[in-house]
């Protein structure tokens, strides 16, 4: 069963000067359950728009989106999907625990259940000691963990990520990669993420979709059949990175 399926999806935006700008053309995508898919491409290739279409934030002009084989516009179970943005988007007036619990509040989960689930997730992302800290008291890595925790607390089956670790420094970024792999394995999630970092794509994904810009089209899809955890310094990974760079 495919968790997310796109059939010849296209999208154009009206530019400010009144001209039509075609962002995506004829995108086909099939994301099987429990896979990790990377959308890779140069900036302006519509990767983020594609992710927003999957998330239901943007409606496509052409084609259809299916989530768990249900048409996107008839899909009801949106809370089984969470979205992690490039910025952590933590509310400055909320503590870590309150920020993490946001999705549960939206779903109307009772206060006591919320507290238990938030604590469990904070432990999962290693922030249990910082439950009562405000965002400005956290380091960049910790903020990223908090944002990840907020995306996990509702027990999603689909996790969308839009260059979530691009602002972190390299060592913290690779820590976050380990975290994501550990947690997705633990929670049996399907992950779709956007990145322009080729190495990140190879280290995390088992399937990479390469997009070409203006308009955004699928250039190629490749499977990465390497065992986890993947060391970015190992020759196999380096070779995949090299091949992917050539495809871009």
């Amino acid at each position: 069963m495919s968790v997310v399926r796109l059939e010849s999806v296209g999208k154009s935006f009206m530019r400010r000067d009144g001209e039509q700008l075609e962002v995506l053309r004829n995108i086909d995508l099939d994301v099987p359950s429990r896979s990790i898919v990377a959308l890779v491409g140069a900036s302006g290739c519509g990767k983020s728009t594609l992710l927003n279409i999957i998330a239901g934030l943007v409606t496509p002009d052409q084609g259809a989106v299916f989530l768990n084989d249900v048409r996107s516009k008839d899909f009801k179970d949106w809370r089984s999907m969470t979205y992690m943005f490039q910025e952590d988007r933590l509310f400055p007036w909320r503590t870590t625990a309150q920020n993490v619990g946001l999705g549960l509040e939206a779903a109307g989960v009772s206060r006591s259940e919320r507290r238990d689930r938030v604590m469990a997730v904070l432990e999962l992302v290693g922030l249990e000691k910082f439950a009562d800290a405000f965002p400005h008291e956290l380091s960049g890595g910790m903020r990223s963990r908090a944002a990840l925790g907020r995306s996990l607390v509702t027990d999603p089956t689909i996790l969308l990520m839009d260059e979530p670790f691009s602002k972190l420094d390299p060592s913290i970024r690779s820590q976050m990669h380990d975290e994501v792999l550990r947690i997705t394995g633990l929670k049996a999630m399907t992950v779709i993420f956007v990145t322009h970092d080729v190495e990140e794509a190879v280290v995390l994904a088992d399937k990479i979709v390469v997009l070409h810009p203006r308009p955004g089209r699928v250039r190629e899809k490749r499977d990465i059949a390497l065992a986890y955890p993947r060391n970015p310094l190992s020759p196999e990974v380096a070779e995949q990175v090299r091949l992917l760079r050539l495809a871009l």
């Binding site: 979205y83 509310f91 400055p92 909320r94 946001l102 939206a106 820590q175 986890y228």
Partner: protein, 290 residues
């Protein structure tokens, strides 16, 4: 293919930032407490000095002037002591405070709600903007005259004037506040399929609150000042009425005594109610700026 289940829960690298953070904040808190105490002491000294200088100038100036023009500090103080013991003092004081508070509370409620409504709808905002300009340009004295015509000699005259002065200030601030709401937070709420009412209370209100508070503070000060004007025109009780009575009878020391009472009231409200409330509400911000 699924990733393996058995990766280490957290790498050892992660432990050191935790303890580092703890230690750093401990040290920072200690030194911050120290400097805060020093600063408070210095502030207190400066305030005291200012008070002494002002009273000194007042004393010197009063030596050459007749008492009905500028009474000496000692004379005003004794007039104030006599004033406080009269039974009407507290009832006048209370009625003025009551009028300011009621006018202010209605202004806060109306201004807050209208500010959010106008901020939420661009059309409504554009439509009503001129009304706000008009209300802002009409002087409080004119509102006092209208109040006298419409409400006569009653509490509502003063309440109306306080309301008309305070409400636009709060409304404007809240309206501006709605424009500072982070669209990224709204988008995040959308991905959680958060209901609209929840977005209002969990994103809009916390974002606006600091601006609302700043506006409310300004509005209370303005309201308190114009309430006196309103009372001199349209009331038969209250501090403004007593001020005018004392001025008519050329009891200048009484005028000074009432003025000092008002100043003391505002300072007390500021330091006992507003400052601590603000510190409590915006703890997250204070620590950020420190």
């Amino acid at each position: 293919m699924a990733p393996p289940q058995s990766l280490p829960k957290s790498s050892p690298r992660e432990l050191s930032p935790v303890s580092l953070f703890k230690r750093r904040t401990d040290v920072m808190q200690r030194s911050r407490k120290q400097t805060a105490q020093d600063r408070r002491l210095r502030m207190f000294g400066l305030r005291l000095l200012l008070l002494v200088v002002l009273v000194g100038i007042w004393q010197i100036a009063s030596i050459g002037a007749p008492a009905f023009i500028l009474p000496s500090p000692a004379r005003v103080f004794s007039a104030w002591r006599n004033l406080v013991t009269t039974p009407v003092f507290w009832s006048d004081f209370g009625i003025t405070f009551y009028r300011i508070s009621v006018g202010f509370l209605i202004a806060a409620a109306v201004g807050g709600v209208l500010g959010i409504v106008l901020g939420a709808s661009r059309t409504l905002g554009d439509f009503f903007e001129p009304v706000l300009v008009v209300i802002n340009t009409v002087s409080s004295s004119i509102w006092a005259i209208f109040a006298l015509i419409w409400f006569g000699l009653s509490n509502w005259s003063t309440i109306f004037v306080v309301f008309m002065t305070a409400m636009p200030l709060i409304l404007t601030n809240v309206w501006q506040g709605t424009r500072t709401v982070n669209p990224e937070f709204i988008e995040l709420a959308k991905t959680f399929r958060m209901p609209r009412s929840m977005v209002l209370f969990k994103i809009y209100v916390p974002t606006i609150l600091p601006l609302f508070f700043a506006g409310a503070r300004l509005a209370f000060g303005f309201g308190a000042r114009v309430s006196i004007v309103a009372e001199t025109l349209g009331a038969s009780s209250g501090i403004g009425y007593r001020l005018r009575q004392a001025a008519d009878l050329v009891q200048t020391d009484q005028v000074f005594a009432w003025t000092l009472t008002l100043v003391a009231l505002m300072i007390a409200l500021e330091s006992i109610v507003l400052k601590p409330l603000e510190r409590r509400l915006f703890a997250w911000r204070e620590r950020q700026s420190a």
